[in-house]
């Protein structure tokens, strides 16, 4: 395998509220995201790991990108601590309220700007969980895509990336032309821990680059007004009522089960 292809591997990472700490205001029914600490989207750890491991095999550099408010730079620090070479923060008031269409546009433009050969996304974000940003990036740029990827095999000599993909009922191996957008499956690799000195560097000295919507030439195409989908309302899901009875022994449990299954 060639090392030194000098691939530019871009990893879009997202800051999300820590899922364990999101609460719902019982009166207004809105989500109390502000209480929850902001963390790196769990599946993006797998994306960063996949990108670092590609870099080890193909050569080149890994650049993390996030679109979000200024404090979202924290997830870039996390990515740099894990081993990303550099990072770019896409931040601009104009981005506010963007749904997947403009979000993937901004990331697509940034990837293009960075001359990406490979873009490695996470499977989905734990807060909006659409999984639509990676195909969106590919569609905006007219690039190939490899979603539900479990393994990656670089073939820089052929300008190709091969992936083992999860498909309904099995697996397939697909070769895609670069530039290509990957959505790496959550949990399919073992994300490494950040090195001590690298972590100190990321949190003290490292500064990400900042790009605005104008820098990307898309001020008129992003934000709430340019988002096709509108959230019409948010309500607490009625929790499903359950008995929550704890039985002491298997006999009692089997009686319950017999009752339930005998009903029909």
């Amino acid at each position: 395998m060639t090392v030194d292809a000098d691939w530019t591997i871009v990893v879009p990472v997202k800051q999300v509220p820590d899922a364990d700490d999101v609460t719902i205001d019982p009166e207004t029914g809105t989500l109390n995201r502000s209480d929850a600490p902001a963390v790196l989207n769990a599946p993006d750890y797998n994306a960063v790991e996949a990108a670092l491991s590609l870099r080890e095999r193909a050569g080149g550099e890994v650049v993390a990108v996030t679109m979000g408010p200024p404090f979202a730079r924290a997830v870039l620090e996390t990515a740099v601590a894990l081993g990303a070479d550099d990072a770019v923060l896409l931040t601009d008031r104009a981005f506010g309220g963007s749904d997947t269409w403009p979000t993937s546009l901004a990331l697509a433009r940034a990837a293009d700007e960075l001359d990406a050969d490979v873009v490695v996304c996470g499977e989905e974000s734990t807060d909006s969980s659409t999984g639509q940003v990676p195909p969106g990036i590919a569609a905006h740029n007219g690039w190939a895509q490899l979603t539900y990827a479990e393994e990656l095999e670089p073939r820089p000599d052929d300008d190709e990336l091969v992936a083992v993909r999860d498909v309904e009922g099995g697996h397939e191996r697909v070769a895609a032309e670069t530039p290509v957008v990957v959505a790496f499956e959550y949990g399919e690799n073992e994300p490494r821990a950040a090195g001590l000195h690298r972590k100190i560097y990321a949190e003290t000295e490292f500064e990400p680059e900042e790009w605005s919507a104008e820098d990307l030439g898309i001020s008129e195409q992003v934000g709430l007004v340019n988002s096709p989908t509108k959230v019409g309302g948010m309500d607490t899901a009625d929790p499903v009522e359950r008995e929550q009875a704890v039985v002491d022994d298997v006999d009692a449990l089997s009686d319950r089960i017999t009752e339930v299954t005998a009903d029909d």
Binding site: G83, L196, R198, I200
Partner: protein, 448 residues
Amino acid sequence: METPDYDNEFDAIVVGAGLAGSAAALAMANQDLDVLVLERGQSPGTKNVFGGVLYTPTVRELVDIDDAPLERYVAEKRYGVLTETDETAVTMRPGEWLEEPHNDSYTVLRGSFDEWFAEQAVDAGATLLTETTVTGLVREPGGGAAEGRVVGVETDRPDGTIRAPVVVVAEGANSLVSEGAGLRDHHDREDVAVAAKEVLKFDRETIEQRFRLNGDQGVAYNYFGEGAVGDAVGGGFIYTNKRTVSVGVAYSIEDAVASDQNPEETLNDFKQHPAVAPLVRGGRTVEYSAHAIPEGGIDAVPDLVSDGALLAGDAAGLVLNNGVHLEGTNMAVESGYQAGRAVAAAVDGDDGSVDDRALATYPEELADSFVVQNLQHYDFFQELAVEDREFLFSELPRALADAETEYFAVDRDPKEAHAEAAKDRLLDAAGGYVGAAKRAWKYRKLLS
């Protein structure tokens, strides 16, 4: 990818961003030292189990306490003695506690307080690294020490060793680092208490009604006797926060090993005591945890400075836990603060050299402070409590309950007869007048 090397880029490393660690970091950062604080939790305080009262005299010296995330100030204290079925209690609500500075006693949730306190150190210039566990100290031959001098720490991260001229170990009661590095002996069993604690959620009104509280007032209740933790040396506690109540038990590990009750069961029994149950009824458990508290007193405190490393807070065994007082927070902050000041005086920020004589001022300063003074003053109690365990935790509570039942009995006998019987019951338990006088003498220092 090139990673800079931070060996000896920091003047000092602090192990643990608890009260002692952050106080030390703050003291050093205030003197323009570059400090690196390493904390194993996701954020400071997430791993903390304390459920109680933060004593703030030293905190007040270091930071603007008005911004701190405090829950309630302690407006009422209660000491209750429990048998299986009875309670005898003293309650106090001095008017002075209602006024600022509220006797420097506040309930806090350590998850928020420790995070805030560490943030003050960061604002002052310290560097905080979380999710990083220190696994050992790095030693190097030289410096006159037989085992070599402490020149840095090892962590659980890749590329995880980092050097600095001085290390302040403020890792709390578990003391794995300090023990592993030979800075202290393994805690003897009799020197450690186990604690189990639950945080129960209520709405504000319920707490305020149940405990008779206005606004930010809160209570600290302590319980002793066999109704609290069975026949173990220790007690139970209830503290009110804004929207939660902490309820827990703490008792000697030795007893915990001897009895087949685990801390969780002991806590459950305590919560079901007839005098306790109505106070905690209906709360939703939002947190359960168990933890150790040092209680060896002054004799169990190791050398506070050795070979370029300093110990502070629980890691140094600096907790006053004698039954009447459970004070570790003020000692942790004070000792961290003193340790930090000593390091600031000892380390030359330019060449990284360390003046060991300046470091040695730390134990001296501490010896003159309330920390060591209090530990010495109450040292006698720990031993006595073990010696008199049967009397203190079982006979006395029972005698009290019987005596009060007698004394206040309402029936067709004359009161005098009941009063006489009550007195006899107490004397009987204490071992007659002579026994009572001896005991009073033995325990006099508790109240002085």
